[in-house]
Amino acid sequence: MKLSLGAMAEPGSTRVTKTGAWRTFVPQVDHEACIKCSLCEIYCPEACIHQVEGLFVPDLDYCKGCGVCANECPRNAIEMILEEK
């Protein structure tokens, strides 16, 4: 890497850093209970919950395990469980 003038950075390049490593608890989604309100996606501070083939799935590369999604899910369809690493 060569330094860019003025410390210029490429858009969206934080993606190279997998902040999933920060996590202690991991969200487990009960897709049966999910009503697809998308609140988990909207509130996720990591912008890492997306609909994949119709299901809301956290991208564990980035999920820091904060638990906002679990707390905000109106159907309690997300549970934070201790992650085995």
Binding site: M1, E10, P11, G12, T14, K18, T19, K64, V68
Partner: protein, 291 residues
């Protein structure tokens, strides 16, 4: 949702601010240039050579984002690109305190800059020191609660009123707990020509001292207790408020956060809580939040 704020940023787990930023950018869209001052947002989003920003973005200093944005505005006008959304996204320290001179100048000159403050009510980047946005009797590292102190002795500065006094065409408050409302307000700000000011309630897990998962819930409680009224001023007139269906007592909000723990433990705390309740009641009355 458009995702214009990439994951991999370094915010604390459970921080409200990235949620606010992604909602702002979702509303503003890609035809946007953002200027951010020094602060948590800058630090967590742009550790060189990385950047979380998918839109054009610039950082200069702690107190000059509004002036930097003014300079961008005149160039966009010159280039005939007046449809570009020029946003400042800044914390409360740079907004309420050190940057207010530049903000006043930008407002007064009428630049087409939408100034958005994510308000976490203290200098969080440097370790929870009081700002003039810090509410009454909050425990911070420079206004610690102690034997003879209940924390910050002063009430929160009314920054939206300062914006209104500058005849800023669009002034609003918002909350990360109300994403639909927040996006609608950013869109409205971008549609009205000239400056705008939006102040977003963005709880800080470390500075406010609560469990990471509770961020949104606490932001919602601030609204439901009437401590954080949601309103809009358009051309100086109150143009709508978010009604509070069932107003909750301020204790429900205060007890969720370590920064108010002293109010429940110290003798005289009840009187302070009563004063805070009176502030909430005054908000409810002033903005017609109930019924």
């Amino acid at each position: 949702m458009q995702n214009l704020f990439a994951p991999g940023h370094r915010a604390c787990a459970g921080c409200a601010m990235p949620t606010a930023v992604k909602l702002i950018l979702d509303a503003a869209g890609p035809n946007t240039i953002v200027a951010s001052p020094t602060g948590c947002l800058e630090v967590i989003s742009t550790p060189f050579p990385e950047s979380a920003w998918e839109v054009a973005w610039i950082h200069s200093l702690f107190e000059n984002a509004a002036a930097v944005a003014s300079g961008i505005d005149v160039v966009m006008k010159r280039l005939g690109k007046e449809d570009t959304n020029i946003l400042v996204i800044a914390g409360d320290g740079s907004t309420f305190d050190i940057g207010i001179g530049c903000i006043s100048g930008m407002f007064e000159r009428g630049h087409n800059v939408k100034y958005i403050c994510y308000d976490n009510e203290a200098y969080m980047n440097t370790g929870v020191q009081r700002s003039s946005s810090t509410p009454f009797c909050t425990n911070t590292t420079t206004t610690p609660a102690g034997k003879v102190s209940f924390g910050n002795p002063l009430p929160k500065k009314d920054m939206p009123a300062i914006a209104v006094a500058h005849r800023v065409p669009y002034v609003a408050t918002a909350s990360v707990a109300y994403p639909v409302d927040l996006r609608k307000k950013v869109k409205r700000a971008c549609e009205i020509k000239g400056p705008a000011y939006i102040q977003i309630s963005a709880p800080c897990i470390t500075g406010w001292n609560f469990e990471a998962g509770n961020t949104i819930e606490i932001a919602r409680l601030a609204v439901e207790t009437c401590l954080w009224p949601l309103y809009e001023y358009v051309f100086g007139e109150l143009d709508g408020v978010k009604k509070v269906r069932s107003k909750k007592p301020v204790e429900d909000y205060l007890k969720t956060q370590g920064r108010y723990r002293h109010l429940f433990r110290k003798e005289g705390g009840a009187e302070v809580i009563a004063k805070i309740q009176a502030m909430a009641d005054a908000n409810a009355l002033k903005f017609g939040l109930l019924g």
